[in-house]
Amino acid sequence: MSEGEHSCAEHCGIFTIGGDLAIQGAYRDICYQPVRDNIWTASEGIYRTIFLEGNKGCIAFDTFGTPGTARAYQQAIARVFPKKPIHTVVYSHEHLDHCGYAADLAPDAKILSHDYANQVIVGRQSSGQLAAHETFADERISHEIDGCYFELIYPGHTHGDGNIAAYFPQSKTLFMVDTVADGVGYTTLMDWHLTHYVPVMKRFLSLDWDVFVPGHFWPITRPRFIQILDYWERMFDFGQQAIFDGLDPHDWDGLNKYTDEKLGPLYGNEFRYHEYGAMNLYRYMQEYLTGGWGMEGNMTPPNLSPL
């Protein structure tokens, strides 16, 4: 179905159903708070991102995942900095739920992304997702834009394509989406490239930061970041053991029972454990049953040295 067949007046992402796509236009309240220096963070309760105050305008990371939330994000930034329009958008990666609606956030802004992310964005042709104007293909690039200094880092394949962190050395702050967030989250670890995920993420520990802003929920400390990575690392062994114990990864009741027995005593108090512990285990089991998925899921990172 083409965009023109929708009665929805909004950008419609990759939806193929017709009619009024009510969620696309729905307004969401955006909460915002300062992080450090010129860095602010914004969230609608589940998703989180950052924006920067420049001398003349603002730099927004990501767009949120519907036209309505993108507009609400723009309004939130305008509330904090009413005379400073968004002149730059930085995509953390290519997924629509974080970066799908620059057309509704700031259609005239300059957009930056990693090359891998932009290749997928161009190929996807999603309604409302604008292609980047400037990309980089290396591991690391520094920007000085409108008085804001930051470094964009592609550490290796983690989640989605071209998923980059933003590092603010002067503020000892790191921002990265859909990799580490507090608790047990991310359902079945959608589009995660598990095989080399942990060593790739540990590269960030060579940088000097003590605040981590994730793409969901709330900012966390460096020790908490390490704890969460430890959970993801230990799940490799739990996934293998579940297979040896004869658990069928497609048996939802069995997955939950097994997870409660084996992981509950260790992680039962983690945020959203009871929703997602079983789904997490499922994904780790598949890593061993099927092998990693695709190029990103199998390619050894060219560089695992400190950043």
Partner: protein
């Protein structure tokens, strides 16, 4: 004896890897057979002088049991050719234990992923195919290998046997609703590619899991997945909490039970399918495989 380990790293893997399940073999024609361990299913063909085995099953023990099943069905003919349906270890991970000296045929992309993976026991293909359609004659057997584009895993090839009016496609359409969370499926073009197989003349479908079905069963499988894709979009735009298992299951059950509730495994799997498929629309698909004119990111960085 130490078994090939695939990707397992824990010492406890050995017993799991060594276990040899009972295999059930069914003869489909003079030359064509299908075999299953109760979950995974594949096919093999008797050539003039040897056997062409599709896939290997997912452990060394299962590969050996597969080899024994072949030897019973086609005595005195060695396995001379293995054709990988796709790259996943649970189907194609242990050629080293099935027939280490056989010629191995696979799609180019499948071969590249296998090379990157480096799993112990998964042998590198010795003959690589490209393109959507390859017509081969191997040891007196005519067969057509079809890769319409990304469907599941990497380099997933279906096999079409015109004489037997049979299509084999691994981990795509099933004869039931037991899809689970649909690992490594590429949804953007999935239904279009699957329905493309209906342009061929066949009346028996051999899936990569569970039981066989016919043309009508295959079409119903396409209808089912397409209906779940539509229903997941409706759930999304209707403010169903798409992150949560029970609400997504409940919504899809309500919308789809009347039409598809009779399919085996429907109630136990529809929630898992819904969680996976609704994320396709939330996130936009995964990688270049999931775009309207699909390709594969990084593929040109891997040399065979």
């Amino acid at each position: 004896m130490t078994e090939n380990r695939g990707l397992f790293t824990l010492p406890g893997a050995q017993a799991y890897l060594a276990a040899e399940p009972e295999m059930t073999t069914e003869q489909l024609s003079d030359r064509l057979f299908t075999v299953s361990d109760g979950q995974v299913r594949t096919i093999f063909m008797a050539g003039d002088t040897g056997v062409i085995a599709f896939d290997t099953f997912g452990t060394p023990g299962k590969a050996r049991a597969y080899g024994k099943a072949i030897a019973i069905a086609v005595p005195d003919k060695p396995i001379t050719t293995i054709i990988y349906s796709h790259d996943h270890l649970d189907h194609a991970g242990f050629a080293a234990d099935l027939a280490p000296n056989a010629e191995i045929i696979a799609d180019e992309l499948c071969a590249k992923v296998i090379k990157l993976r480096g799993a112990e026991g998964q042998l590198q293909p010795s003959r690589v195919l490209t393109g959507e359609r390859n017509e081969l004659t191997i040891d007196g057997v005519d067969l057509v290998l079809l890769n319409p584009g990304p469907t599941h895993g990497s380099g997933n090839m279906a096999a079409y046997f015109a004489e037997e009016k049979t299509l084999f496609s691994s981990d795509t359409i099933l004869a039931n609703a037991k899809y689970g969370f649909m690992p490594d499926y590429h949804f953007c073009n999935f239904i279009r590619f699957m329905r493309g197989f209906l342009e061929l003349d066949w009346d028996r479908f051999v899936p990569g899991r569970y039981e066989l079905t016919d043309r009508d069963g295959f079409e119903r499988g396409c209808d089912f997945i397409e209906a779940v894709m539509t229903t997941c979009q409706e759930a999304f735009v209707g403010f169903v909490p798409i992150w949560a298992y029970e609400p997504m299951k409940g919504y899809c059950m309500g919308q789809l039970s009347e039409r598809f509730g009779d399919m085996e495994g429907f109630e136990n799997h529809i929630g898992q399918m819904a969680i996976r498929i609704v994320h396709h629309y939330l996130m936009g698909g995964w990688g270049l495989e999931d775009t309207p004119e699909p390709s594969v990111l990084l593929a040109d960085q891997v040399a065979l």
